[in-house]
């Protein structure tokens, strides 16, 4: 294999096998990828978030075992995405439901912890301390995290697939191509939301619907949103990132006046003339709402929150919306989060009161993919566009989409409740 220019002494030693078979394998993988991606050189990274710890077959386990047996180590802080199962609660996806996948998933997660990855098991690693900074080159594979890191933090990553993410983390470098380059980060499409009332633009559901709509239109292009409120929260931007990554494959987007590479329209497009804007209308949002609801309103088996993982501030909103009430007996309320955020919420007494109200806190994993948690079936309500996008296909459940407030009231009632005030401000 031809060697990419710009390899340093350590890289060459690794390629020659002087740091063990695993490091050589990682270097070969990285150089092969760099060549295919057309990278002239490698770029040092400061952080990696691995997706390869999510079980997708025995090859994943064999790969991690091969690395462990051949002296692999990570060169940069390396954190883990969710696993297929929860290591904290083995009853969530019992082994007898899908023996090979469940035991393989557990083994895989243990292997990555042994390899030295920080076992944070979250799809929202950006909610934890010590996150990357503006301009840092990093490696991530989880689609919502890729979009959030690129858009909201301004750290630079491509959507790295299985194994290449691990190879980059081991070498501490990535192919200098794609979204690592300045010129590849310019906006390519413009969405104008200024005709949507500011009241609606303050609602959490607006960001979910907007993300879904923008992703559908943008595909893998880089959308720029004009008219997001300057005080849109990170939870709001998380919602756009996750929804647009799910419905379209968006890896980077900009919000004029809100995200770090888009102080104004000119900067969002890196000096190029912005294209004609798509005016986002009330009908676009209503259509998105319909697309995310596979079922009519009615009695609920479950309410699913926390896709991507629930943040500390989302827990605060949930506690305030629930206001000490219990959820309907028989209904399941699942809230997926990281161990870190769970512990933070627990320090306020929130986890105890949520469990007391009948909720189940899920850590290390998520609820939208198969095998279904505890044989879930029937009608499920969620406030997460990503959950609503994937679950009907992956789990065969019927999905009703709603705001966080609608989800909470519905969980208390056991039946879908609609907020009469939600759409009245729509222009």
């Amino acid at each position: 294999m031809s060697t990419a220019p710009g390899l340093d002494e350590i890289d060459r030693a690794r390629l020659a096998g002087k740091q063990g078979r695993a490091m050589q394998f990682a270097m070969e993988t990285l150089l092969r990828a760099a060549q295919i991606m057309g990278a002239a050189r490698l770029v040092p990274i400061t952080f990696a978030h691995l997706d390869a710890c999510f079980y997708a077959g025995q090859a994943h386990v064999d790969f991690a075992q091969h690395l462990l047996d051949n002296g692999a180590s990570f060169s940069v802080p390396t954190w883990t995405n969710v696993g297929l199962v929860s290591l904290a609660d083995e009853t969530l996806r019992p082994e007898n439901e899908a023996p090979q996948a469940v035991s393989g998933a557990r083994r895989l997660m243990q292997l990555y912890a042994k390899l030295g990855a920080k076992p944070v098991w979250t799809c929202a690693p950006y909610q934890l301390p010590n996150r990357p900074r503006l301009g840092d080159h990093i490696v991530a594979g989880e689609s919502n995290a890729v979009a959030f890191y690129n858009a909201v933090i301004g750290a630079r990553t491509n959507k790295y697939g299985d194994y290449l993410d691990v190879a980059c983390a081991m070498i501490g470098k990535a192919p200098f191509a794609g979204l690592h380059l300045d010129e590849a980060r310019a906006g390519e499409m413009l969405f104008d939301v200024t005709s949507i009332s500011p009241e609606l633009r303050r609602q959490d559901i607006f960001y979910q619907l907007l993300g879904h709509h923008v992703g559908r239109r943008a595909g893998q292009r880089i959308p720029v949103v004009l008219g997001l409120l300057g005080d849109a929260s990170e939870d709001n931007l998380k919602a756009v990132s996750a929804a647009a990554a799910a419905s379209g494959g968006v890896e980077l987007w900009h919000a004029v006046g809100r995200t770090p590479e888009a102080a104004d329209l000119e900067r969002a497009f890196r000096g190029r003339v912005p294209p004609t804007a798509f005016k986002v209308t009330k009908n676009d949002l209503i259509n998105a709402h319909h697309e995310l609801s596979s079922a009519r309103d009615g009695p609920l088996a479950m309410v699913a929150l926390g896709t991507p993982h629930f943040s500390f501030t989302e827990f605060a909103q949930l506690i305030s919306l629930l206001a000490g009430r219990r959820i309907k007996p028989g209904l399941k309320l699942y809230i997926s989060t990281s161990r870190f955020v769970r512990d933070l919420a627990a320090s306020r007494g929130w986890i105890e009161s949520l469990v007391g109200a009948g909720a189940t806190i899920v850590v290390d994993t998520c609820t939208y993919y198969s095998p279904a948690v505890r044989g879930m079936s029937g009608r499920v309500m969620t406030n997460a566009a990503k959950w609503a996008y994937y679950a009907p296909g992956m789990l065969g459940v019927e999905v009703v989409f709603g705001s966080l407030k609608e989800c909470v009231e519905s969980a208390v009632l056991g039946d879908v409740w609609r907020d009469p005030n939600l759409w009245k401000h729509v222009a």
């Binding site: 990828a33 295919i36 991606m37 390869a52 697939g161 299985d162």
Partner: protein, 148 residues
């Protein structure tokens, strides 16, 4: 010109860009639409399972699969490697657009299991010639022998 038993089989050689090396031979199977190897393809059986795909139900096992591009998924390498491990994979893959995920899946499987599923890319005019062939052989250096 009429073909006869005594004639040499009509053949040409095409050069390709090697994304993951190996040798392979088999009939071409041309995918009419891009395929996501994760979710739309079952590595356990080697078949297309996406009901939206026009070739849903088709088996890729043992064919030289021709596809313009893949539908991007970060889980593609895992699905390819798993399929190669289970011996349900195509014998080789020819792309129009070089794809790092397909290539890495093949490369990892070669290292872990010693099983080869070469991945190469070609230009559009060569792609058309390969698609019209009855049998293809891919060699280690990326050359492809085409039997019409």
């Amino acid at each position: 010109m009429a073909r006869s038993e005594s004639m040499e089989t009509c053949g040409v050689k095409i050069t390709s860009r090697v994304l993951s090396p190996g040798t392979a031979a088999g009939p071409p199977l041309v995918l009419l639409e891009p395929l996501s190897f994760w979710g739309a393809y079952d590595p356990a059986t080697g078949t297309i399972i996406d009901t939206h795909h026009p070739q849903c139900g088709a088996s890729l096992t043992g064919s030289i699969v021709l596809m313009p591009e893949t539908r991007g998924s970060g889980s593609t390498p895992g699905a390819i490697a798993e399929s190669i491990r289970r011996k349900t994979a195509p014998s080789g893959i020819v792309l129009l657009k070089p794809d790092v995920n397909v290539a890495i899946g093949s490369f990892i499987a070669a290292t872990l299991y010693g099983l080869r599923c070469p991945v190469v890319s070609v230009c559009p005019s060569d792609y058309e010639r390969l698609a019209a062939a009855s049998h293809l052989s891919i060699f280690e250096d990326g050359s492809i022998e085409v039997r019409l």
